[in-house]
């Protein structure tokens, strides 16, 4: 090889890289120059029922949570279509924005929805980090909000504990769950029914560490022991091979595993490939084996114990109708817990509008109407805890089993229900 030629090549190569990097940063700069949030929220106007009711949503359609955003959107569409996009005599208009799993981008889009589109109600948000970033602008704009996923505990709590500050707002409702509701009942249940020697392996980000702390908070008092050091792979890990041998070396009887989306799919598959599933049980929050990843995990997920506020196998008329309608409207799409939450969020909005007969001019009346919404949801009876404005959830303990064919499109495996909490779980009001 010609030496001088190589030198030039290398310099050009690096120049090319630099050019690429600068195109990317220019794009970011342009993004950052988009209209910023400065002006005060518009004064409330008297609204006649003939004026459409505008809903703005921020949900992920790209990046790691794209499939979750699609599920929620599909199910909201399904419910709104069932009422002809009409509630309380008003037409429902729906403006969608992409969450992109990015708090800064979402903030900008929220500003657009509030300032430019002048939406009457905000809904959506999958990521807890994003919902924390949007909370203050939503609160300041006095924007009625129905969150359809993001489960971070702080969102609906009051008071302070150490550095953590409750972010409760009277305008924000959460129709999904809190991480406390899902993971704290599991700790006690695992200690009683599965194993008392558990290692924790969780995605290393806010929601993962929060959920494992909630698990430990009831597992240890119930007589359980945490084995070894917590194993904390970064969010978005595709190859868990660096972490799985550490679990094997600690020889726990079971592993509390907090992962969701593609992380969950790869983790469970590789857990099995590394021979861990022979002697070690998997327990975790239900997202680990939800319908979005279960068909891909296949038999490697068999036997995993999880807790969640819903399952495809839940036997009630509302769930059966939901599964059937969804399969008919979106053939070939697997219905998952995120879809169920979108369906319920849409229904909350519709029921509240019906209750005030489309008149949202008195905001405190409209907020009272949301607070009072109750109906038969696919998860069971739906209502908000008026103190926290978080959904009250019964938690189901589930195990992955071979499907009895009740629900076809979830493939050959399903989350069979082993039991449930004695009473519905309320998220604590204070930190």
């Amino acid at each position: 090889m010609n030496d001088q030629n190589l030198q030039v090549n290398r310099r050009q190569f690096l120049k090319g890289l630099a050019a690429l990097a600068s195109t990317a940063s220019v794009a970011a700069l342009l993004d950052a120059c988009a209209p910023a949030a400065t002006s005060a929220p518009a004064a409330p106007t008297v609204i006649k029922p003939s004026i459409p009711f505008k809903i703005g949503s921020i949900l992920p359609y790209t990046k790691v949570y794209a499939a979750l955003g699609e599920s929620i959107t599909n199910a909201m569409t399904l419910y709104f279509e069932s009422v002809n996009f009409t509630a309380g005599g008003r037409k429902i208009e729906w403006i969608k924005e992409d969450e992109e799993n990015d708090a800064q981008i979402s903030l900008r889009k929220l500003t657009k929805l509030i300032e430019q589109d002048k939406v009457d109600l905000f809904t959506g948000v999958v990521s807890t980090a994003v919902v924390y970033a949007l909370r203050d602008p939503l609160h300041e704009a006095k924007m009625p909000t129905v969150i359809s996923n993001a489960g971070g505990n702080l969102l609906t709590r009051k008071g302070e504990k150490g550095a953590a500050k409750g972010r409760f707002s009277p305008y924000i409702f959460r129709a999904s769950f809190s991480s406390f509701q899902i993971s704290s009942p599991l700790g006690e249940w695992v200690a009683k029914n599965v194993s008392k020697k558990v290692l924790v392996c969780a995605s290393n980000y806010g929601f993962g560490t929060e959920s494992s702390a909630d698990f430990k908070s009831t597992f240890v008092p119930a007589g359980g022991t945490i084995v070894g050091n917590d194993v904390l792979p970064p969010l978005g890990t595709t190859d868990f091979s660096a972490f799985l041998p550490q679990i094997a070396a600690a020889k726990p009887e079971a592993v509390y595993s907090f992962f969701s989306g593609s992380d969950a799919l790869n983790y469970v598959k590789q857990f099995d490939q590394f021979g861990l599933s022979k002697d070690t049980k998997i327990v975790g929050a239900g997202f680990l084996t939800e319908t979005d990843v279960l068909p891909g995990q296949g038999k490697s997920a068999l036997g995993a114990y999880t807790s969640l506020h819903w399952s495809t196998t839940l036997d009630n008329p509302a769930n059966k109708k939901f599964l059937a309608d969804y399969a008919k409207r979106f053939p070939g799409k697997d219905v998952d817990v995120f879809a169920m939450q979108g369906y319920d969020a849409a229904r909350v909005i519709v029921e509240a509008l019906n209750a005030v007969q489309g008149d949202t001019s008195n905001q405190s009346k409209f907020l009272d109407a949301i607070r009072a919404v109750t109906f038969d949801s696919p998860r069971g009876k739906f209502s908000f805890d008026p103190k926290t404005q978080n959904a009250i959830n019964t938690i189901y303990f589930r195990q992955v089993k071979e499907s009895g064919g009740q629900y076809e499109s979830s493939g050959k495996y399903e989350n069979a229900i082993l039991g449930k909490t004695d009473k519905p779980i309320l998220d604590p009001e204070n930190m």
């Binding site: 290398r10 690096l14 195109t23 499939a67 904390l232 593609s262 490939q273 021979g275 979005d292």
Partner: protein, 293 residues
């Protein structure tokens, strides 16, 4: 902090080796294509991703992993050939920025294409390993997946075959001469433009082969192209441009560094390979196997 027993060390070493050899399948093509054709191919990660998805469709149709391992590189190789002939050729002799824009644009198109194809889409897709390799093997007190051992064996075999092809055959001699001075090779009466197309197509096929080989370890999702392309670009910078040896040792170094970084210092996991790249750029700016001026 991890307590590294000999068993754990062996397993982590094998993990790094498997990852490194998969990177090699991309880096080899990237490096030779750049060395010879002076093209920085940012669509190389897309060939890898397309390979995995074409493999998935082939697997669904035939239920045979080995067939899909054969079909995907062939299909993607043809795509690569067409891309070189129809899109890159007209840009020959233009600056790198034009090529970067073209190949980056192709990568964006490929990403949207994968989303749009029914059965591929935005969801994560699992890709089961061949049943005969689905088991795990006892290594000391721990278990190791058989499929990863197969990846290591296959990767080493391919590296050796490529080394022999480039180092010992007439075709290899033409490729090496082309890396040194393509114009001169053309002047000697060799149809260099045909050689370019073939090298580009083989590079694309190798990336696709890597895609199918990786698929049973990680699952398929949009975005898998960018993650791997960045790692392969780092390998090329660390190993030195246009050399197969550089791509090989660079891949193994980056593979091991990435894996041990994750295992030993998980908080700094994503950092370790960039530290190596920075160190190599400072101490040996032409890469570990690039020649000094």
């Amino acid at each position: 902090m991890l307590n590294l027993t000999p068993d754990l060390f062996l397993i982590q070493f094998l993990n790094g080796l498997a990852y490194g050899l998969l990177l090699f399948l991309l880096a080899a093509g990237l490096s030779i294509i750049f060395g010879m054709m002076d093209v920085m191919n940012l669509a190389h990660g897309s060939f890898y991703m397309l390979g995995a998805y074409v493999g998935l469709s082939a697997l669904r149709a035939t239920e045979n992993f080995w067939l899909s391992l054969l079909v995907a590189p062939l299909v993607v190789g043809v795509v690569g050939f067409a891309v070189e002939r129809l899109l890159l050729r007209p840009l020959a002799g233009r600056g790198h920025l034009d090529q970067v824009l073209l190949t980056f644009g192709l990568a964006l198109v490929a990403a949207d294409f994968v989303r749009a194809v029914p059965g591929w889409g935005a969801e994560v897709r699992a890709f089961p390993p061949p049943p005969e390799l689905a088991a795990s093997l006892a290594l000391g007190s721990l278990q190791y997946p058989l499929y990863r051992l197969f990846v290591i064996g296959m990767g080493l075999g391919l590296a050796l075959a490529l080394a022999l092809l480039i180092g010992r055959t007439r075709v290899g001699a033409i490729v090496r001469a082309g890396v040194a001075d393509a114009q001169m090779v053309g002047g000697l009466g060799i149809n260099i433009s045909r050689v370019f197309s073939i090298v580009f197509a083989v590079g694309a096929a190798l990336a696709a082969f890597g895609g199918v080989m990786t698929a049973p370890i990680v699952s398929l999702k949009p975005g898998m192209d960018a993650e791997t392309l960045i790692a392969a670009l780092i390998v090329v910078v660390v190993g030195g441009l246009g050399t197969l040896r550089g791509a090989f040792w660079g891949s193994l170094l980056i593979g091991e560094a990435d894996n041990f970084g994750r295992a030993l210092l998980p908080d700094y996991a994503l950092f370790s390979i960039y530290v190596i790249m920075a160190a190599v750029l400072l101490l040996r700016p032409t890469g570990l196997f690039g020649r000094k001026t």
